[in-house]
Amino acid sequence: MATLKELVLRESPITGGHRACAGCGFPQIIRIVLMAAKDPVVVIAATGCLEVTTTIYPYSAWNVPFLHNAFENAAATASGVEAAYEALLRKGKLKGKINVVAFGGDGGTYDIGFQSLSGAMERGHNLLYVCYNNEGYMNTGVQRSGATPRGASTTTEPAGKVRQGKVRPRKDLTAIMAAHDLPYVAQASVGYYMDLLKKAEKAFSIEGPKFLNVLQPCRLGWPYKPELTFELGRLAVQTAIWPLYEVENGKWKLTMKPREKKPITEFMKHQDRFRHLFRPGNEELLADLQTEVDRNWQTLLEKCLPAGQAGGEGGSK
């Protein structure tokens, strides 16, 4: 694995000066994932914050080839790019290895782009799909998505006098992608960048369809203090709200086991989207959410290799 020292010497795939909010989590995802590639990359992105903030014509923050098509079709578009690469390589019109990487927000991945993703992965294209998951449609003003956690307030499922934000839990897309029997599926989080780097490096070393689901704190949609981006990415993991694991050829493995599993409120208390849950009367709902996280954590532990074989926190600092 590349060390931090090596990493800082590599050319960044994106420049500064893009228009993402101060403290936004996804520029780091772009950097870490793409800098993990030994060979050149081409990027395909879905409509969403990542795309609009980095490519306002006539400016572009991208130092690598970049294509945006529409909202729900990053995976299908990437499959076309990959097919073109294979065809042109075979016909001798191109030389050398190129990695095809698609980025989609949770809306473009869990919801409207789900079919496109599932189809591309099932067809087995040699590409890496990265969901930068900020748990809502942030670009269009914080609407709920299939990735929004239960209890979170969004503009289309807000907390009100009788409703306490999102009613249903989010869907477990990482597990759904693992059920596609892909060679590599992993969950990562913005605060644990060496873990993300390791996963991206592994993904690039494997032929076939790969999927990374990276939790990304969003300043606008989660409202929190800008300096807390990394902290929140870490707390999501330490509370087991967003466990770090990978599924390689059907084998599930935790890549970080929190030394001490923190209560979910440690993660939630910093964010305005959960503020209503701390009001009197919502104690039961909060307890319920904790039970849900505990249950999911237990299920995941049962799927994973024995703890001794897991990475342990040491590898993920």
Binding site: G80, V81, A83
Partner: protein, 388 residues
Amino acid sequence: MPTAAKTGNEAMAEAMRQINPDVVAAYPITPATEIVMIFASFVADGLVDTEYIPVESEHSAMSACVGASAAGARVMTGTSSQGLALMYEILPIASALRLPIIMSDVNRALSGPINIHCDHSDTMAARDFGWIQIFSENAQEAYDNLIQAVRIAEHPKVKLPTMVTTDGFIISHCLEKIEILEDAQAKQFVGERKAEVSLLDVEHPVTLGALDLPDYYFEHKLQVAEAMRQASQHILEIAKEFEQQTGRKYDLIENYKLDDAEIAIVALGSTAGTTKAVVDELRSKGVKAGLLKIRVFRPFPAEALAKALANVAAVAVLDRADSYSAQGGPVYTEISSALYGKTKAPKLINYVYGLGGRDVTIDDIRGVFSDLQKIDKMPTFNYFGVRE
């Protein structure tokens, strides 16, 4: 030149085999399914070197085509009706990115109610997306048009996606004797795609599909409009070159016994064939009837049309789609605007006909010509072949 018995679908698949595109992404839908099926068998038998993407939907087919074309590949697809409708969102993206994607489009009625037979509602609804649209009268034209479409779409002054249409079942499933180019001749005619920019040129990274705000969007759209304006002359040049190879002559429109015609029909696709038979019959009886067939609907050949119709007294425009504007079908509207302000122009009436595969008979066309002989008594907007 070799001849073969081919249905419209087989003729288009054969053209695709000879074109040997880098990438094909397609999804099955009646009556276009066979094109995909036959092409998949070419892939399975190693007759083409194409990367074939059996996508999970037409939306993904067009999305993959955009990706592959942006990556510099020669790309083809095929679809119909609901499939085309599922692609609508991506069609103007393909033209805005100036991607020369080539599509065989088998005209079929849009749902609802669901129906699998021919009309032009699917293709007409796609007329304003910056795609070149070419209609075919029979399997021979379908083959010829598809071969030429590669050159048209990829012409450096055009760079616009292009769809070649046939009429569902009437052409797609009807067996005809057609002439086919030798493989080598076809290969030479279509040549290789030379993309000016490619996503896979990692030495020269480009950003494609950027967010275009009010300060640039308009200029970029203007370029598509300008390319469409330029396209006509290049379509004609390519047709000339094709004629030199095959002896088969193509234009933007086809005038059939129109020079001295007093009454005429304007039609697209297979109905033009039916109309020619009636024109011949009327001519033998001394009636000066004619036909104007529109081959290229986008760009719309307004000047050529106005000129060709200038000396005709009465013209019926046949629309195999309604636009529900309460002002006639789309072809009628285009032709009336093409004739607007011209000092010499025919009287025009409109017929919407043949929706959902309603049969178009010789008698129907005879009826239209007899209406034209009393055009002063006719309402502007008419139907034929429908129970009212």
